[in-house]
Structure formats: C-alpha cells, structure tokens
C-alpha cells in the first residue's frame, strides 16, 4: 500500500502530474472574485469564507478524473486489480494520495488566499480547521465518482455532474464553520457535522468505490 501511495504522489509531482494545477486554479478564482464583486473590503470579508470554500471545492474537482483515468488508459488498473492489494485498499490509497497531492496544498495555501479577500483575523483558524477536516471528504467522494466514470470517454464532465451534488453537505457545513468563525460565533455544531460527514464518507465510500470499480473493469 505504501508503494502505491509513494508512486501516486511521485507521479503527481513529476512533469505532467498536475500538481499545483489545483492550487493555481484556486488562486485565479480568488483573484477574480474582487474583479467581479468590486473592491469593497467589507463585502469581500463577508463573502470570503464561502468563496474560499467554493474555490477549494472546484480546485479539488479539477484533478478528480486523473485518479483512475490515467491508470485505466495505460493498463495499470487491470494489473493493480490482479495484485494482492484488496480493491478497497486500492481506492482508499488513491483517495489518500489525491488528498495529499491536492487537498493538503489547498489547506496550507488558504490563509494566504484569505488575505486576498480580507478575511477578518479571527476567521483564519476556523477556515484552516474546516478545510483540513472537509477536504478529505472531497477526495473520498471524488474517488467514488472517478471509480463510477472510469473507462468512459470524456468522463470528466459526467464526473462533475455526479460529484458536485454529493459535495453539497460538506460545502454547507464547511463554509458555515468558516463563516461563523469569521464572525466570532460558536463553531462547534457545524464542525461536528462536518467531521461526521467526513468520517462517514471515509468509512463507507471505499466499499462502494471498490464495488463499482470491479464492475467497470469487467
């Protein structure tokens, strides 16, 4: 399992792996917002938590179709399916690698991008915590979507349509934590809900992903 994780991260950071693509996309979204809504820092500060969460979610979406599509194209997925690794472990490792290559950089960069949207100082920690807790769910749900659409020509668009509705609960509670934090309110309840969604997804979805992957490989 560790070998697969190391390989996937190595592939992500080498040329053409798409590492940094999500980050650059996130930056562009955040930079574009003030052009769209105007430079009023009061307004920006108010919408910053939502924009940052939406930006992180869309950047995460950008790299989802690579999770299985590349391994499918070059035949590695068939070979991995015949390897001693259980399919559930395979999809879990794939989700973890996606999170490490996409989610973690987004979380770490978010304070910097929050600065661009003049997020109030007390909002930084809740934003960071909510993204750190919410992005694993984005990767795990996204892996399920990628497993569903593997082998389809131009499955990326279908993948977005399938996955975005599933992202709604994470977005609602994640953005709520960040918003309440920025306004100096209590964040315990939405944080607990967000944690529940994330851990529920991590516990259940690998089995679903493995099942659909088995069907898709036939």
């Amino acid at each position: 399992m560790r070998a697969l994780l190391i390989r996937d991260i190595r592939l992500a950071v080498r040329a053409g792996g798409g590492f940094g693509l999500g980050l650059a996309f996130f930056l562009i979204v955040v930079v574009l917002v003030p052009f769209g809504v105007g430079p009023d820092s009061g307004l920006l500060a108010r919408i910053a938590p939502g924009i940052l969460w939406l930006g992180a979610l869309l950047s995460c979406l950008l790299s989802l179709d690579r999770i299985f599509a590349l391994d499918w194209e070059d035949g590695s997925l068939d070979l991995l399916a015949t390897a001693p690794l259980p399919m559930e472990a395979l999809v879990s490792v794939k989700a973890l690698a996606h999170w490490l290559a996409t989610g973690v950089p987004l979380v770490l960069a978010s304070p910097l991008f929050a600065l661009l949207l003049s997020l109030p100082p007390e909002g930084y920690l809740p934003l960071l915590v909510s993204l750190a807790l919410g992005t694993p769910a984005l990767s795990v749900i996204g892996t399920f979507g990628a497993a569903l659409t593997v082998g389809l020509k131009r499955g990326g668009l279908l993948l977005s349509l399938l996955v975005l509705p599933l992202y709604v609960p994470t977005l609602i509670f994640g953005a709520e934590v960040a918003r309440r934090g920025a306004e100096g309110l209590e964040t315990g309840v939405p944080l607990a809900m967000l944690a529940g969604i994330t851990f529920g997804a991590i516990a259940l979805l690998p089995f679903a992903s493995a099942a659909v992957l088995r069907v898709n490989l036939r």
């Binding site: 070059d74 035949g75 070979l79 399916a81 015949t82 390897a83 490989l217």
Partner: protein, 205 residues
C-alpha cells in the same frame, strides 16, 4: 499445483463468446491459445486472471496465483524503468528487480525514463513485470507484440526459466515462440452457439 479449467463459458459485453472450455495445466507446462481475431482469447485470459466473472464453469485456482499481462503494459512514462519495476515488486511483496532487468536485457536502460523507451523496449519492461510478481501462473495476452526476433528469444527463455521453476504459462499468441514443449489449444471450436444471454441488468452496467 495445477490449473483445472472446467466447463468455462465467458461473455464479453453481455454476449457469450466461448463456452464449455476444458483444459488442465500442470506445473512446468505452457499452453498457447490460438484462434481467429475476436473469438474471445482475451476474454478467457481476463476471466482466468480474475478480472471478470465467468458465465459458467470454474477456474480451478485462486486469482492470487495469477499474474496477468494484457495489451497495455501499465508503464508510467514519468518513472524510470527501475522505478516502474520496483513499484510492482513492492506491490507483489517480492524483492529485487535485478533478475527481471537481466532477463529482458533492460540493465542498460534501468535509469532511463520509461516514456523515452521504444515500443519494443516498453513491451520488454511490461514482460519483466511478470518475473517480479513471483506468481506461479503467467497469463499473457499477445506478449510478443512489437518485439523483435531477439527479444522474442529473451521472452521464450524467460518463460522456460519460469516453467523450469515449477511455474505455468497460459498465453494467447499468433507467432511461433520456439517453445516446443508448449501445447496449443485452438479455441475456435468452443465458440458459443447459444442465443444471446438475457442479461437485462448487465446492459446498464
């Protein structure tokens, strides 16, 4: 150890292609499947490798005994030859890729990025993976595509070494490998005659 295939029927895209296939492969034996294009050789090999369930019949060995090599080599072009092989060795829990590199004459290319290899060299790398899996049954689908005569010789030698170590090899190929000991099974007579199986659910999968 033997591979006992009994009454195997396989389907591709919900349509049965071959039925009632029986054969036995003992340790140290090789079997070559022959048949016209589209007869279902790949489907049989994928079924035996455990990538798809059989329509009927049994494959007498666990999928854990099989090492499969399909049309695609599963090579990552941004990794070096050695990294590619080491990855598979780690996945299959074996150690050392030196023998595999040696067997397919890849030692000089070991540190080259796999994307820079020629088609034949990539194929050799794909076949070298079979050596590092350490599994007893090799299931090979058209292993010699894009190999030149000397590389085919290397491959035949690797298969022979594998058989000598008590392994088995099952392959679909059209060219003569020079493996005199290998049996040949023509699968064309097993072509499915039954009407299309009513797999209503399957058409949605």
């Amino acid at each position: 150890m033997e591979l006992n295939v009994t009454g195997l029927s396989v389907a591709r895209g919900g349509i049965p292609v071959l039925e009632g296939l029986d054969f036995t492969l003992r340790a140290g034996e090789a079997l070559i499947l022959r048949g016209p294009n589209g007869v279902g050789k790949t489907t049989i090999l994928r079924t035996i490798a455990g990538l798809q369930p059989p329509l009927a019949g049994q494959v007498g060995l666990e999928r854990e005994a099989m090492a499969y090599a399909g049309h695609a080599d599963g090579i990552k072009s941004t990794l070096t030859v050695r990294e590619n092989l080491t990855f598979w060795a780690d996945i299959f829990g074996t150690s050392g890729v030196a023998d595999a590199l040696e067997a397919f004459d890849l030692v000089a290319l070991a540190d080259r990025v796999a994307g820079a290899l020629s088609a034949g060299q990539k194929r050799r790398l794909g076949l070298a993976r079979m050596v590092v899996t350490g599994r007893p049954v090799w299931v090979l689908d058209e292993p010699t595509v894009s190999l030149d005569a000397s590389a085919v010789g290397l491959f035949a030698q690797a298969v022979r070494n594998h058989l000598a170590g008590g392994g088995m090899a099952l392959m679909a190929t059209h060219i003569d490998l020079g493996l005199e000991e290998a049996r040949v099974l023509d699968v064309a007579p097993y072509r499915a005659k039954a009407p299309a199986h009513d797999d209503f659910d399957g058409s949605f999968l």
